[in-house]
Symmetry: C2
Subunit: 214 residues, 2 copies
């Protein structure tokens, strides 16, 4: 998650001799990453509805055609921005253990999710994404597909319980609900609780969902 | 939660002899309820940000001054609309039992919350409120205060565990997270699960939070 600033903000506007052509600058190795960063910033600042491919292109200082070339439609750009924002969440299967012992998996999962949210930069990006998904069905659809394919299906594959997808989602729902009350609505006492207090209480719940076949 | 339609949609525009004066029509017994219904509809349709006291007054066919008279500021109108929308949630303390046995309280609470969400009319109103709270801090503040004073404090008073507020909120967070994934983002398999499947899995979790001092 290193921030990649535009290599030179004024480059595409220079029109002198001996400088890279617009096409070259656009298709340079940094262009795709620059578009992606711009997309995430635009979606976060304006919300899903008010963000356009044209606006993203302008922010990234490239032609709109290049955005389409790399990513496709607005929904596909959004999907790429979601994947970038939720990159940490994609590590969940590794946290679960992937075939290793599931002892303590509830605590590892609770600690991992709270860690993502406790990082202010990550939190701001995920909150922006959450606001888009809650207010726009097209954004919800992208998030839905991501959560199912990139998180639940992978986690479920490592579990040894019936209805593993359902149980993985129940565990996830608890962490989502805690995030909503703690970081979005900010209801006390959860809003000010120490992460360790939350982890201690929640870990046995997640452990039961993920490992107890009863 | 009976819907009260304006008694006569055209009344305030009539200017003939022998009809009620504008002031009389405005301050009739139905006016307060009519304003409240209009407020809820406006907040639901436009979101917190784009709703104004003037717009609510227009929809209720009263003077804006009457809205201020009954409710005060925009935030106070919003608060009244929240209380109306979350009227069913205020029954939670009764569901908990109020001094009666806490046996089975986890199941009762899970069943009660899912019941509220499974009612399409209630769901639509709560979703609209949730969208406002997630996107506007002023709306979040009203919801935050409501959840704390009207739900958590009352539930906690009936529990016999340490950190009763915290535990009541953890239980609530689980039901909030389930609602977000099931009804808002609509992630499978939770989105299509039978309510009874969810209640069976979740009840022991809520029971532990609300009653197990360990």
């Amino acid at each position: 998650m290193t921030g990649t600033a535009p290599p030179s903000a004024s480059a595409p506007r220079r029109r002198g001799r001996g400088r890279p052509s617009r096409a070259e600058a656009d298709s340079g190795p940094g262009a795709r990453q620059r578009i992606l960063e711009a997309a995430r910033a635009e979606f976060a600042a304006r919300g899903y509805d008010k963000t356009s491919v044209r606006g993203i292109a302008k922010a990234a200082e490239v032609d709109a055609a290049l955005v389409h070339h790399y990513f496709g439609t607005k929904d596909e750009v959004f999907e790429a921005a979601v994947e970038m924002t939720l990159e940490p969440v994609q590590l969940v299967p590794a946290v679960i253990g992937g075939g290793a012992s599931l002892d303590g998996v509830g605590e590892r999962m609770a600690r991992f999710f709270l860690g993502i949210w406790e990082n202010p930069a990550t939190r701001a990006q995920i909150l922006a994404l959450f606001r888009s998904a809650v207010t726009h069905e097209a954004a919800a659809k992208v998030l839905r597909s991501f959560v199912l394919r990139r998180v639940l299906e992978r986690v479920a594959a490592d579990l040894d319980v019936p209805d593993a997808h359902f149980r993985a989602e129940l565990a996830a729902s608890h962490m989502v609900g805690i995030a909503v009350l703690r970081y979005v609505i900010k209801v006390e006492p959860l809003a000010s609780a120490e992460p360790e207090e939350i982890i201690t209480m929640v870990a046995p719940t997640l452990q039961r969902y993920l490992t107890d076949p009863g």
